[in-house]
Symmetry: C2
Subunit: 220 residues, 2 copies
């Protein structure tokens, strides 16, 4: 599943002085600049020349590494997704305790994400919103990203011995998407906590159902 040795660090490089950093390839500079600009100002609105200017590289270099702008967009989405998932699932792996604690911690980690001053929403939600019917590669990338998430959610739900793991995974996915969009629009990270309470409510309900009324109010 994790196929990456050549991950790229996509942190913001506004300050921009690569003098000290050793051996940052032109390709990496292009990817970093493209990520920042695409995610902050939109894919169609960001021109190749703007990316080159920010990256400080030549145009021929960009077209040496990427066949087209579409190709660059796909590459950026792939790396953005991989970087984000590494961070997200990594943070969740630190949570010890039962699967339920890990599932609820999802929303605490989301709140961390929302609280980043440079938070710009989910690149995949934004990309699908922008291209919709227009770009299949983008949709496929978004589907894949969501599938990784759903798979993880289902695994936790199974560990909790929830009867309908699909229903729980779908519910949590709705809560995650809703929290992301609400936080992006309002710039209020606390929507993660709102979503968390809804998740607690759902998990309590499906657990009490499965355990046949034995201990109806575990969470509260």
């Amino acid at each position: 599943m994790d196929d990456g040795l050549n991950d790229i660090c996509l942190r913001d490089t506004s300050g921009w002085s690569f003098a000290a950093l050793p051996a940052v390839s032109a390709r990496d500079k292009i990817m970093s600049a493209a990520s920042h600009l695409f995610c902050n100002h939109g894919f169609a609105a960001t021109g190749i020349d703007t990316i080159l200017s920010r990256a400080g590289t030549a145009k021929a270099t960009l077209y040496h590494h990427f066949r087209s702008k579409e190709d660059l967009i796909s590459a950026v989405l792939e790396v953005e997704g991989k970087t984000w998932r590494n961070w997200f699932f990594g943070r969740l792996a630190e949570v010890d305790g039962p699967a339920q604690a890990r599932l609820l911690a999802v929303f605490d980690v989301l709140e961390e994400w929302f609280s980043d001053p440079g938070f710009y929403g989910c690149p995949f939600i934004n990309a699908v919103a922008e291209f919709d019917t227009g770009n299949d590669a983008v949709r496929r990338a978004a589907d894949l990203h969501k599938e990784y998430l759903i798979t993880w959610l289902k695994a936790q739900a199974m560990e909790m011995k929830i009867a309908d793991v699909t229903e729980t995974a779908r519910s949590l996915a709705v809560l995650i998407d809703g929290a992301i969009v609400a936080a992006q629009h309002s710039r209020d990270p606390s929507f993660a906590r709102t979503a968390r309470r809804l998740a607690e409510c759902h998990l309590a309900s499906v657990q009490s159902g499965a355990e046949d009324g034995r201990s109806a109010k575990r969470l509260k």
Copy 2:
């Protein structure tokens, strides 16, 4: 609040023959074409010439009615929002019964919306995703739209005598946003029902809490 006499019908006009329809102004044709193209193919990706070609109008006419493309985008968002809210709240007004039934019916109406073959997500979510920091007018339009929704949700919650109406409105807003995004990505309208079950769970929990444990399981 409802200031509109000059609402425009924004239904899809793919077939396109205005011969029979009486007195459709050029402005309306432009608005209709722009709505369809902006919402389906993105705002930046849709050019003025494409809109004119679809509308069958002259360029001078467009710039006679709208100062710029940004101005046209704002006008489209305003009308899209107004049309949608008229439809949405109109459908909900048909629901008789207590406020709780109306709140849950939100998700049935959403499922209707998602089931439209031409469903392209929420124009405001899509627009903010595309422009993010780049366009204040778009953000303000999205904020206003969401405010209308929140106000309605709070009114229903108050009628239910829920203690913390803000918390309930925020929760339902997260569920609505999440359902929209999940349905848009998966093209599966049944995410509305997933969100509905989460809403039922939330309402049951805040109601049983308010009524001091008297009847804990009203909904189920």
